[in-house]
Amino acid sequence: MTRTYRWALSLVLLAVVLVMISPILWLVSSSLKSSAEMASFPPTWWPSQPRFANYTEAITSVNFLGAAQNSLTIAFISTTLTTLSSAWVGFGFARLTAPGKKQLFVVLLATMMLPGIVTLVPTYLIFAKLHMVNTYWPWVAWGLGGSAFLIFLFRQFFAGIPREMEEAAIIDGCGYVGIFWRIFLPQSWPVIAASVILSFTHAWGDFVGPAMFLSQDSTTLAVAMATGYVNDKGLPLNNLVAAGAVMYVLPVLILFLFMQRRFVSGFSTSGIK
């Protein structure tokens, strides 16, 4: 590869990066504008006087902290339960045999192709009948059921651990629950990390679930941000919307920047290998 070619490629990529990042920069810029600056046309590229008060107003004018707490609670419930349950089931598929296992595994893989939103609406109707709407029980149920994709990830990892390990444990009188808990789970931290990151970002970003299952007072940040911040005429207060959105998006971006490799390994193995 020649030098000019390399330079040209870097230049093109630099332009792509600028295009990809500019929406986030615009969001930050908007979040620091006064409402007067927000209303003027043409828009300014960067606020003449950054107005940090937008952030405090974004927190106080809607129940930001309450919604953030709900988001965290739901994210915590689904992350812990989904990860544990998926590891548990993945262990079963990797290390144990029984009639019907092959068929079950095919079903597991097939469920990854089921349309999730389509099944979500009738699930809501059932939970409504059971009076479990506006509680966290649906997330407990989803968490315990595990995620097909994460089960698959754990299964692939556990299948690669040498058999001698579990044989030694069996000779020492350890049951399969003990083998899972004491030997396999502690070794699988790379998958656990990927699982935690994927389930956390999914729960934090989910809109339909909380929009359907939770009332306006007990909802999550995703829903609060999508509908909040309007003036008394019902028009959106765009600078507050931006400030709220920055605070809502930031935790995920920070998690991404620090745990990049886990993010990538989690997504890129998406059922291909």
Binding site: P23, L27, V118, P122, G205, F207, A226, T227
Partner: protein, 310 residues
Amino acid sequence: MERPDRKKKPPTLRKARTFYLFVAPWVLGFIGLTVFPLGYAFWLSLTDSDGLSPRTHFVGFQNYIDIFHDPLTLSSLAKTGMFALVTVPLSILAGLLLAVMVNQPIRARGLYRALIYLPAVVPPVGAALTFRLIFDRDAGAANGILSTFGANPITWLVDPNARYVLYALVLWGCGGSMIISLAGLQDIPRELLEAAQVDGASYWQSFTRITIPLLSPVILFQVITGMIGSLQSFAPLLLSSGSLSGAGAVPQGNYLYMIHVFAQYFSASRFGYASAMLWLLFAVILLVTLLIIKVSARTVFYTVEPEGAK
């Protein structure tokens, strides 16, 4: 030879029982949270339920017949198909092109990868709000750019322009596709490409004859998941009102099928009809998936047997 037999049998039986103990959470979850809800929706789709009145009547397939006489439902289905046909190939192509570029040996390519992928991890609500701000008529950057060139501002978020905002929003996340294609590219054995080079193949030849065939399972995977995702997309709802019952605020050009389903459930309370709509979508998605797999069977190249066939 009685002893080994007797000794062998109980452990396998116990192993089988242990297996079922381990997979039980997923099996129960699958039955309770997927199979049963879908069955319940099917039963509802055969009734005139409105979700409130205790009395519902069995109406047979009337709701399904109604769907085909409802121009709004049919047009929303057509728009959804159009949306999928535009965004899925574009995202995959853009992702593949970017993957090839960031796979070259250039400086700081890790940084390029991370920053191009970054938008894909932004939560959907955050992304939609960001695009609402960029394409705002007065305060948006898009019209700001237009005005520096002396052009008149455009009202982006209404018909007929709203669809381009939607496409842009989806394409902003093409870094996700890039990462998947990149992983596929990195799995291609280097010897193959080197051998082709030694044999005098041009870059384009080895790309079309080696890289693309070896990448085809990865592309197929993206086509399938992309189609499933976009056929049930409700992103325009986030771009306009941000509420499940706010279908009225969605521009006609972006009135996708799932938005109509939400409107039927949460605004019109037509539970029976909405459930029939869900089942139709379910059938369409299943059919499209099977069709893609069938059509691709001849063109997709597997170096190893796909999982599950083992």
